[in-house]
Every structure is written in C-alpha cells, then in structure tokens.
Symmetry: C2
Subunit: 159 residues, 2 copies
DNA sequence: GCGCTGACTCAAGTAATCCGGAGCCAGCAA
DNA sequence: TTGCTGGCTCCGGATTACTTGAGTCAGCGC
C-alpha cells in the first residue's frame, strides 16, 4: 500500500474532499452564514444584521448555499404581512454542524480572550456540553496525532 | 437562563470563537495549507506545488500561520545543501486536525464524485478508519440535531 | 573568489469579495 | 389606487486574495 505521507508527491489532491467542501463554503462569510443558521437565524435581514455583513454579500451566500443544497427556501407568512421565504437547513446543511462545532471548539481552546466564548453547545435533554471527538471504526477513542492518512477509492497516482 | 435560539437578537457574536478562528484560517488557501501540513508537507516549495497556488500566496499564509502559532519554523539541513527552515505543526496547529477532518468528512459524504475520495484517516495502530463524532460531557453520543446553543462565560447581552 | 541552486520576495495586474447607497418590486393596508 | 414596508438587487468603488514573472539572497561546491 502506498505510504501517503512519505510519497506525498506520488498522488494528487485534485479530487480532495477538503477542496470540494471549500468550493461550497470556502469564504469567511459562507461559514458565518452557516453558523447563524445553526443559531436559529432564517431570514434575510437577520443574517445581514447578526453577522455584520452587507446585504449583497448575504444575498450571494444564501443563493450559493441554497444552490449547493445546504439551505432551502420555504415560504412563510406573518399575519398582516406578505408571503416571504425563509432559509432553513437541509439534512446536507445540518450535517455541516460538526465543521462549525470543530471551528468553535478550536477557537474556544486557542483564541478566546479572558472572558471566554459567548456560546457553547449542549446536548438537548441531558444539558451537558457537547464537543467533538475522533473515533475509529473499531470503537477506539483517537487522539490528535494518532491518525495517519491512508488511500481512498479515488486515489489518483501521478504519471 | 437566556434562550439563545429564541432571543438571538438579545446577544452579540462579536467575541464568537468561530469568528476568531476564521480570523486566523478564514481563507481557502490557509485551510489548504493546514491540510497539506497534516499530509506531511513541511517545505515552502512543496506547499506551493501540492496545493497548486502561487508562491507569494504560500509565503503569506505560512507567515500568518506561523505568527498565529499554528506552525513553527525549524532549521533543517540536507547533506550538501545549505541550512533551510521547514514548517512544522505546533500543538496548537495539531489540534486543528479535527477541523480539517470535519471538512473532509463532510466532503466525503456530500461532495464526492463516483470514484470517491483520494484519502481517508486511519487510526495508527489498529488501522481502522477515523471519523469525528459528537459527545456530551455525560458521555452520551450526540447526533446532529440533538444540540442546542447555551450561553458561555463571555456572553454579551445587547443594550 | 565564482557560479549555481533553491527558498523566498517584490511588483504589477487580475479576480473575487465586500461595502454603502440607491433602487426595484410585491403585496398588504387603507 | 395609492402609499408604505421590507425583502432583495443593482451599481460603483474600495479592499483583499491570488497569479505571473522577475528578482534577491544565502551559502554550498568548486
């Protein structure tokens, strides 16, 4: 089997899943829109105000994330108001939560000031704080540094 | 206790850990540099070639990530060559692996083509594939959708 | 010393992103 | 029908990110 670490030049990352993911959410504003969606925001103007970016930027990100299938537009209607669309997470979008959680956790550990982070994640029901851990298919808990890259089905060797 | 989801307008994300994290690695190229570092790359030109971005961009990212403490420069010397510096992950940088892994996993699930991803992560030792899971402080496995945001120590209420 | 190599940098141009402000438009209220 | 509101879009300019190509510079081999 190819040792990916030692023969790093022997294979390409053209079809890397990280790269593909970043094609969808590779901007700062896209990731913040996703964070806001997980914090319950669903309406155009709320995204803009709460994230603190301009409306054209929000419009572009919402359009892209909807086209990519992470969000979907659904109509809503408040009494006395016209029908509008709101943006809700699809299963594909919900599954992105682990990325947001990993980003938040890293920041909690390495980039907070003395007052600490403004929000955390709790397990609904038991209320205990949620964090990400790595686990292998054999059920072992895996620590940072105990992993190694191995070839996947789409590995492309050069030359 | 404040219900963060319902009263989203009552608090601000100025000191959000996600935002702080993105101040360090908020660009596509920074995240790809980190991916490469985890794939064993440590030298300037290798980063540029393997990621497929220009050298000035690599120089800027390496400088930023080093200043932020995710990478450190250490001298190396090949026989018959002058002394050079290579870039290695610090503990702060190593801890970023869960973010890269979460990005890769999301891409593996939602953004691969028919041939599949080129690489995966294995537990060194047992060799089984590694993935991220969420767990609460009580030890429960937590599924996507079973979490809710709760106030942290740095919560800032508006007004 | 001299040339060579390779790591890195500078400069200039292009593309993407973002902001502020103005404007469009649907449809509810009156 | 008219006015109004709010969701969204368009435009022009500023900033940032990135590319290409040329250049600098350290130090090893000779």
């Amino acid at each position: 089997m190819v040792d990916l670490l030692k023969d790093r030049d022997a294979w390409s990352t053209d079809n890397c899943s990280v790269t593909r993911t970043l094609e969808v959410v590779g901007t700062r504003s896209a990731l913040l829109v996703m964070r806001e969606a997980f914090l319950g925001t669903s309406r155009f103007h709320d995204f803009a105000r709460r994230i603190g970016i301009g409306e054209p930027a929000v419009a572009a990100r919402l359009k892209e994330l909807t086209a990519a299938g992470l969000l979907e537009r659904t109509p809503y209607r408040e009494p006395g108001r016209r029908t509008r669309d709101e943006y809700r997470l699809t299963p594909k979008g919900c599954d992105f939560y682990r990325v947001i959680l990993a980003l938040r956790e890293w920041g909690d550990t390495w980039a907070t000031d003395e007052q600490g982070p403004p929000w955390r994640s709790a397990h609904r029901g038991c209320g205990a704080e949620v964090h990400t851990v790595m686990r292998c298919a054999e059920g072992h808990d895996v620590q940072v540094g105990e992993t190694t890259p191995v070839p996947g089905p789409g590995l492309v060797l050069r030359g």
